[in-house]
Amino acid sequence: MTVPAEVREHWREARVSARNDGLVPALTLLSRALSPSTPPRGPRGHAVVPRELLVEYREFADRGGYGERTGTSAPAEPDGHRPDSHQPDSHRPGPEAEPADPLPGLAVLGPATTAQPLPGPDPDAWGAGLAWLRLGNSERLREACVAYLATRKVEGTSLLLQQLVKGALADALIEQLEIEGVLDYLTEDAEETGPDGCSPLAPALPLDPPALARLQAQITEVDRALLRLLGAYGFTAEGPGQAAYASELLADVYCGWPGPAQHSENDRNTPEGTV
């Protein structure tokens, strides 16, 4: 895909900001840049947005409310039909099932209730930007792991020096470097091509939506491996685990976990968008 230089710059900023400042500031930057005045909506209409941007969204200006997620009708299956409403269904979201903010400073929005929500960002640009942002967040998590493990001692030596820990960190790094390489190709200036119109450095296959979904899942898996290294600290609400959770939610809302439905039926349209 041909991506305008300023969009690529926003991607870079999102990654750097996620790594240095955290997920919320990075999402604020990216959302302001790629989706000013309207919340970026996922294929099913959900959004995860920085709270401070809610006042900037025109969608809510005339309604006096933010349409934050409340109970919805029965969710649709990937092919768009709604599950049988007679089914015993105690765990469906009820009106009381409003989720807490996934991270302080972030709000979760349910599908837009206005008849015609304003158009959001270009899905490809937004998707790649999110992947960069999530990579930056994952790198921040890696740094938190190294810091935690360096001070955590076993028999006088730092946990960081245990072979198994070194190996796990190196594995995470390999994944992150590979992801960076894949995304990096999108941010580079178009390379001069040879007489056959191809560049030897170009990937053989494009980073289409299913491939991007797999890349997002890869980021989630690295995060999970890193979270294991943080022990129970990463499972508490005060540790870096909360930003990792918010990052999982971003991937879920904007592309979902890659599944066979996505592989085999990715051109099938549903009332809510393409699955």
């Binding site: 959900h46 299956e77 898996e221 022990g231 609400a237 999982e248 879920d252 979902g256 599944g259 066979p260």
Partner: protein, 386 residues
Amino acid sequence: MRTLPGPLRTTHRHVRQWADDLRAGALELDRDPDAVHRYLDLPAVRFLAGHLTPPEWDRTGPEAGSGPAHGLATLERVLVSEELARGDAGMMLGSPGASMTGVLLGVLGSQAQKDWVYGRLGERPRWTCFALTEPDRGSAIGEMTTTLTPVGDGSYLLDGEKRYVGNAARADLGAVFARVAGTERLGVLAVLVDTADPGYRAEPLPTLGLRGVQLCRITFDRVHVPAEQVLGAHLPPTRRGMWGIVSVFNRLRPSVAAIALGIARAAHDYIGDNRKELRGAERDLYEELGRRIDGARRLTYRAALAVDDKPSDGYLASAAKARACEVAEEVTLRAPGFFGPGARLDHPLLDKLARDARGVEFMEGTRNIQKLTLFQGLHTGKVGRL
């Protein structure tokens, strides 16, 4: 294949039915750990609290804390834990009852100690806690700094801090592991503590999953521990120290594997219940995930039987714990993929299961610790032989 004793089958059947009720409160408890007080009348919770027994609940004797007459205590705990965690792991782990302290009492407790604990648990639903992990020290016995200082009359003063202890703020009784002042690294004892005693303080630490368990930090400031609350004092020295502690953890590990399996099954069942029709590659994946759960489950059952046969044989338990946690994370991460983007918001139970699955990793030894144990077993020829 071993045939299950009849009473164990009956227990399993009943617990399986009771487990379904736990689901109803799962999301409420996830938002508010104190909601557990509203579910104390559920049969599953009453069973865990020790106030309800299934028919044919055949124990070795009428004494408090007696094990099952069929002798397969670990397998029984595994079958029960898997079913109840399928209902809701948060509710199961956050329920009143003897829980891990009961297993500890079974190995190291005298009858008088069991009578004291079970007597109090019988009065009304009461929680217990099991305090091992320390801040910046994990749960390695050799690193422990919480201290028991002898007073001279056989009693001790307990000082120190524990972290990530489930139910500690709501518990009436706790089992606490601590080092006796002035002893070598492994001179660790387990003692019973009445949480109403002066010097005990527990405060909740909010978590990202398994919120029903309400993890806590505890501080002990000169908590008086009478001699009769020291566990294992009635046993020969070889049985009361590390041997006892290791065999307690060997017995507990398969149940933690079972909790992970229960979480994985809850997510897998959710797909089956809520996706009307699964075809082609989707059905293949659904079945593949089911087979992954089955594989880990077989390993867990074998691990439980190995420990029931020989309490020191905890290697399979390490393999089962490591594998079951891996499967739980995998299945709960992939389950939302059957429902498309936004599934974790539209199906809050799937979101909760994906968060809960992360937590079991840290209970009873992380994957790295299980791998190190397994390597020891391999190296010494204690596991993996024909």
